[in-house]
Symmetry: C2
Subunit: 209 residues, 2 copies
């Protein structure tokens, strides 16, 4: 009698379809201007029902953020598992793949940049917060693994601290691009893509054997 299991699955599906709806609404109206009524209508549910699945508007946003991280994780995983590239070759690919992600999923990319505001308004105990942090750690681990692979195949200097570098690269991804927003159209020929690639080029020189 798998009733409980089925209910569990259905609950999961509902939850996902609410996130689907929330993405459509938040991405089109922006977080501040989107309302929970909008989301409820889009999800074909009542507002009250939303709160059976998510504790707050901010938590719903965290769920979207988690998806964004998941997409990015899968992209990086493919790179990590690519047998045709050595470590140092994979390094600049990280930047390229991130830029591709930002272009192909602009809204999800955007959600990455505003996690702070939502995080601060969510209780740190929630399941969603936990799994979001986990996903973030996964990404850092993948980047770190790629660097370590380069150290094993001797294309990356062995004394490089892979964990630290992976964290600072992640910071790069989520820092350079958003700073571009403040500078956009003001600095002539400003192109966040170029900046990231240039930065990776410099680092490449510093870490390759």
């Amino acid at each position: 009698m798998g009733v409980i299991e089925r209910k569990e699955r259905e609950k999961e599906l509902r939850s996902e379809s609410i996130i689907d709806a929330a993405e459509r609404i938040f991405f089109s109206k922006g977080f501040e201007h989107a309302t929970m009524n909008d989301v409820a209508e889009e999800a074909e549910l009542s507002k009250g029902a939303l709160y059976l699945y998510f504790h707050s508007k901010n938590e719903l946003c965290m769920a979207i953020l988690q998806r964004s991280l998941h997409i990015l994780k899968e992209i990086f995983e493919i790179l990590r598992d690519d047998k045709n590239l050595n470590g140092i070759e994979k390094f600049p690919k990280l930047a390229e793949l991130f830029i591709t992600f930002a272009k192909e999923h602009p809204n999800h990319y955007d959600s990455l940049l505003s996690y702070r505001e939502h995080r601060e308004n969510c209780p740190a105990t929630g399941k969603i917060i936990k799994s979001t942090i986990e996903e973030n750690q996964n990404i850092n681990r993948i980047i770190s693994d790629i660097i370590k692979m380069g150290q094993v195949d001797k294309t990356i200097k062995k004394y490089i601290d892979a964990d630290k570098l992976s964290l600072s690269l992640w910071g790069n991804f989520t820092g350079i691009m958003p700073s571009s927003i403040l500078s956009e159209k003001v600095i002539p020929n400003f192109n966040p893509e170029d900046i990231i690639k240039y930065h990776f080029q410099l680092l490449l020189n510093a870490i390759s054997t």
Copy 2:
């Protein structure tokens, strides 16, 4: 008869004292939980009067952000004008000074990280937005100048693109630290300070002659 000038000055003072009050309120309660009534009370004004000086809550936040940028600009200016250090010696100092800034002005530092959300809800035409962008450009110019000074005194490789590097450094500052918030207490021994310093060390190797 400098009445108009005096009124201008008084208006400026009022404006500053409102920002003072807003800082106390926003920094203690957080943006979302702070209300305009709180700010009005703290500023010893009516709510309506606030709106004579700032168009919205978000614009008030941008004014705080501008202050943050101003503080940081002045810190970097001192470094730039220091005659006792050559270009490459100033480079790691950038990281140290930024970390100092983040420690000594944690709330202002915090405001740097959430400019996105406020920016998006401000009309791009406002005077405050404009001068905020200007302050941001100033900082990038200072960083860029420091790099160029290193190229003049031949301690930094001459083919380094100072403008691009300055932008990516700025991205580093506003990227690595915030990502630490998501990772905090999860990654053992995680210390954003170390990460930034390590990153600068790597770059130092890449750019020094």
